[in-house]
């Protein structure tokens, strides 16, 4: 008898229906074949399914079994087809009678040998797929079910093991129907570090505020131990919370990558990714024959932190250019052409020189000027050009810290300022399809950043003194615009411009 069930394959962030056709033949030698460009993990489903059925107290038919995964030319991998194959065999061998519950639903999940259903990546996408294709019911692993439950209009069955599923389909003990829960929207107050945890570094904190408010990329340079990493980790906490559509976007990426902690429904905190500098280009951009999202996509709508940026291979830094420009990364492989969103705030930290102590008030730098030049040249060029804000994070002399009152703004108050400034920008750019000052092109800068004559004079003087490039010129105006927005000023004044000059590139 032939049975057809529906499952899902993921290509990037889009889902493709996969027909799982199971035939248990009346004649022929006993055997079990899976066809349809099945990867190694799918091939091995034979052993898992066979054992799981037996261990669930049912009979694995000693007949010729053929499973076809259609479309035939789409490569399929992973354990998610275990569940539809197992159910298909049970129906085709007559142990379960075929019903609408079986043919009009999506089955998705990996089986363990005991018949338990294991967590499987990509469940959120299954829910979204079901809604789009008007499929009412989906059967997914229990641990991942909360992911799918954020989608409304579908019924999610959380399956613990094969036996429960069979009991449900037979109608004896139905599984409980899970409906969408209204999750508390965008709280995301879980932050590792609060800004007030970092001693001193008022200027660096100010730069972080500007970066968060205007969506600017930020480069911090300073000796080891000055607090660069701690500051970096505090950045997600001052970014505005994710709104629901954003949270859904981020969760989709994490669901496909299989990085959602089990039991999570939506991610409410902005992602913070800090890859090690040993990372490959495929690791940062995304890769594999069925390409998985890389660090740039995992940092989508959050922060990509490159600690010791000068230690990253040049090829990796260069590969950041296109996603930084477009907010999307396209990965082309033999088997697939995939795009992942990758709109992130780049936060980079570097030492001022190889030994780290150049400009340190107490410790001598042991690098020669040549070494320093060589070190800095590794960073130079296109990637630095895309970083608006540069700030020095000097060594903190602890005895000097107690000297002044030193305001200690907490992340919460800083975040309120950020949210206010973002609202101003959103309003201003409503007609342009931009969100933040950092996204302004030159024509927008000319249109939205009016400068009075005094500010113009100051800017001209700065360009001559520091020998600024055209790009550097526009960068300064963009930062001054954000500073003005933070101050609630519609005009960019010379004070704002003067402060912006503090954050120009020194590399």
């Amino acid at each position: 008898m032939l049975v057809k069930l529906t499952s899902v394959a993921h290509v990037g962030l889009s889902s493709v229906p996969v027909d799982v056709e199971v035939d248990v033949a009346a004649q022929g030698f006993p055997g079990f074949t899976i066809v349809g460009l099945a990867g190694k993990a799918v091939e091995e489903a034979r052993e898992r399914v066979k054992t799981a059925i037996t261990n669930s107290g049912m009979e694995f038919p000693g007949k010729k079994i053929t499973v076809n995964l259609a479309p035939a030319d789409l490569p399929k991998d992973g354990g998610a087809y275990d569940l539809p194959i197992a159910v298909g065999i049970l129906v085709a061998s007559g142990q379960i009678r075929s019903s609408d519950a079986v043919t009009n639903a999506v089955f998705y999940g990996e089986l363990g040998l005991s018949g338990d259903v294991r967590p499987t990546k990509g469940v959120l996408l299954v829910g979204l797929f079901a809604k789009k294709h008007r499929i009412k019911e989906i059967f997914v692993p229990r641990d991942c079910a909360p992911e799918a439950m954020v989608v409304d209009g579908i019924t999610v069955y959380a399956v613990t093991n094969l036996r429960d599923l069979v009991a449900h389909v037979m109608g004896s003990t139905p599984l409980s129907r899970l409906k969408r829960k209204r999750e508390a929207e965008g709280e995301g107050d879980l932050v590792e570090f609060d800004l007030s945890d970092v001693a001193g570094q008022e200027q660096a904190k100010r730069a972080m505020l500007i970066a968060a408010a205007g969506g600017h990329n930020l480069l911090m340079s300073g000796p080891p131990g000055a607090g660069k990493t701690m500051l970096a980790r505090a950045l997600p906490g001052i970014l505005p919370p994710l709104i629901r559509t954003e949270a859904l976007e981020v969760t989709r990426i994490y669901s496909v990558a299989g990085l959602l902690p089990s039991g999570t429904s939506l991610m409410h905190t902005r992602p913070f990714r800090s890859p090690h500098h040993g990372i490959s280009a495929a690791g940062i951009i995304g890769g594999g024959s069925n390409p998985l999202p890389g660090e740039v996509s995992l940092a989508h709508l959050g922060v990509l932190f490159l600690d010791e940026m000068a230690e990253f291979p040049r090829s990796v830094l260069e590969s950041l250019r296109q996603p930084m420009e477009d907010g999307v990364v396209s990965i082309v492989r033999v088997g697939a052409h995939v795009s992942y969103p990758a709109s992130f705030t780049l936060l980079a930290a570097v030492n001022p020189c190889p030994c780290g102590y150049l400009g340190h008030p107490k410790r001598p730098c042991t690098c020669s000027e040549k070494q320093v030049r060589k070190y800095r040249s590794r960073l130079s060029g296109p990637i630095l050009d895309r970083i608006d804000l540069h700030v020095l994070v000097p060594a903190v002399e602890t005895e000097k810290l107690s000297a002044g009152p030193g305001e200690k703004a907490s992340s919460k108050t800083v975040r309120e300022a950020v949210i206010k400034a973002r609202a101003v920008q959103e309003k201003r750019f409503a007609a342009e399809g931009l969100y933040t000052n950092s996204q302004m092109r030159n024509k927008h800068v000319k249109k939205y950043c009016e400068l009075d004559s005094e500010t113009h004079r100051l800017l001209k003087l700065a360009v001559e003194t520091y020998d600024l490039s055209a790009r550097g010129y526009f960068r300064l105006i963009k930062i001054a615009r954000t500073i003005a927005d933070l101050a609630g000023n519609s005009l960019v004044t010379s004070t704002h411009m003067a402060e912006a000059l503090q954050y120009r590139s020194s590399m």
Partner: protein, 264 residues
């Protein structure tokens, strides 16, 4: 392309006068009328840079030609500062005049020196080796009328120059540094042991002291600081302080280097 230099009378003071000297640039005997050697550590600190910025323009103003060894650190800073102050400078190389191991930044500085000053070496093709630098130092000392040591650690090559200068009866000046700093150990010891006179900048303070109401400049007159420290000391918000610092730097009242500000 290297020319052989005419004899320099002051080099005869040496017991081991170099057999010949090669030079690049335009030979001008007036260069040797009044020479000051400015030498020091390769590992120059922020403080050393500030000292060179004070010392060299003052010497240039007094009509000195600045002589140094073209090594990175204090030497090159002295050459650069001299050219920036409109002075003429002589670089005595610790390697052959035709040696091809220089990088582009070195080549550029050398070309700038040659325009008004000289590049000297007693070798044609010699590679830089451990023994070539002290050899070169005797020429630096002998050519100069005064020798200034800026930042030298306990075993710095600059101390060799100072020792030769003492032997040749050239006045040696050392710039004092913090007693806690390793790179000032050598210079401080020269002063302590009486081998060198202590150099202090001219007091142009009459003009500056009390002439400014700007609290930032007042603060920086005593000590160099970074922006966060200034904000903390003054109890002012960092955005306001940052804006003022930018304006002061642009107007030339203060200088910023690697994040720390000081009065020019």
């Amino acid at each position: 392309m290297a020319n052989i230099a005419p004899p320099i009378p002051r080099l005869r003071d040496l017991t081991n006068t170099p057999k010949q000297l090669y030079y690049r640039g335009t030979w001008d005997n007036t260069l040797f009328v009044k020479c000051a050697a400015v030498v020091g550590s390769r590992r120059m600190t922020q403080y050393g840079r500030m000292v060179v910025e004070k010392l060299v323009p003052q010497l240039v103003e007094e009509g000195y030609t600045i002589v140094s060894g073209f090594m990175y650190g204090v030497d090159q800073a002295a050459h650069r500062e001299c050219l920036a102050a409109g002075g003429r400078t002589i670089a005595v190389l610790g390697w052959g005049i035709n040696w091809k191991g220089l990088d582009s930044a070195d080549k550029k500085l050398m070309a700038d020196i040659e325009k008004t000053g000289l590049v000297l070496s007693e070798w044609e093709e010699q590679k830089p080796l451990l023994w070539t630098f002290p050899q070169r130092n005797r020429i630096v000392a002998a050519v100069s009328h005064d020798v200034f040591v800026v930042e030298a650690a306990a075993k710095s090559g600059a101390l060799i120059t100072a020792a030769i200068a003492t032997k040749l009866k050239r006045p040696v000046w050392a710039v004092p540094g913090p007693v806690t700093s390793k790179t000032s150990e050598g210079t401080n010891r020269l002063i302590a042991n009486g081998f060198a006179r202590m150099w202090l900048p001219k007091r142009d303070g009459v003009k500056k002291e009390g002439s400014t109401d700007n609290p930032i400049i007042k603060l920086l007159e005593s000590e160099s600081m970074n922006a966060s420290e200034i904000a903390r000391k003054l109890g002012e918000p960092i955005d306001k302080v940052g804006a003022q610092l930018s304006l002061l730097v642009l107007s030339g009242d203060i200088i910023e280097r690697e994040g720390s500000f000081y009065v020019s």
